[in-house]
Amino acid sequence: MLNLYRIDTAVILYSIVLQLVFSFVTFFISFLSYKIFKVTKNEQAKAMSLAFLFIFISYMVQAVFDFLIYLRVSHDNYVFMGIHPLSVLNEQGLYLHTVFFALGFSMLMYNAFRSDKKSLLWYFILSSLIILFISKTLMSGFFTLASLYLGFLAYHFFLNYHEKKTRASLAVAAAFTLLFIGKLGYILFKPSSFVYMIDQTLDLLGYLLLISNYYLLRQDGKKKR
């Protein structure tokens, strides 16, 4: 079956900018977690640093592939992806993006279980990759997996907020809820530009919440000193 759809250069540009914002936030969280791991030797901090590093790579890959597509189509206003060689490039970018994203979220799931059994981590990684590759389409597998993982993580972070009762833990729980709702949209509704825009906007809000969390923590840290 031939998938025929039009792609606008403005949409690609919008997507590139957002992927770069998401990359920046996830890299920053990865770096902070690594900094904490270096001092504390805490294995959870190490796993979180790796998880966000994988998520950072997934967004960077997407941004680079989107940029390559943008370069090739910028002389036209749009191309029909299904009948264009660029569709191969687009598919390759999506494959890499979903694999790295699945790796990152598998590690976050492993962290949420607070287990030191590495077999659990491999279980998450392998089952994620199997779901991705046996699904009817890569994207349907990806959205199902992302919704399941993000839903669980949002629940996990709300439990954490219930225990800690800090505004920073609330910000993290709310951020993951926004990311979850964004991905859920693809399962509840037929994928369209509108669903895509809603997902990207919710993702943006979620990642902005995660980065603003850092400033909240710095302020709280100053007060405590």
């Binding site: 270096k38 959870q44 901090a45 979180m48 954490n160 920073a168 993290v172 850092y214 840290g221 405590k224």
Partner: protein, 91 residues
């Protein structure tokens, strides 16, 4: 029952003690004030020296410890790091 201190808190306690005492503290004082065994203290001091948060100096034939800029920076960031760990449920 008091909660067991984790590594981050123990490091903060050691560095904070040294900062509080005008950055000149003998190892035995650190051991008692930070409530650590001799073995634990030796391990932590070795690590803090290797990570560059502390330096060991000899003053009047006595061994004392001083904070480096990195040590000061750690104390400045401690609240943020603790909050970050809490907000993501890292224990």
């Amino acid at each position: 029952m008091a909660k067991r201190r984790d590594r981050l808190e123990i490091i903060k306690d050691i560095l904070y003690l040294i900062q509080e005492k005008g950055e000149r503290l003998k190892p035995t004082h650190i051991m008692y004030k930070a409530n650590l065994s001799h073995q634990m203290l030796t391990e932590y001091l070795t690590e803090l020296k290797s990570t560059g948060m502390l330096i060991e100096v000899i003053e009047k034939k006595k061994k004392i410890f001083r904070l480096t800029d990195k040590g000061h920076s750690f104390l400045k960031d401690y609240g943020m790091m603790r909050g970050f760990m809490e907000s993501y449920g890292i224990e």
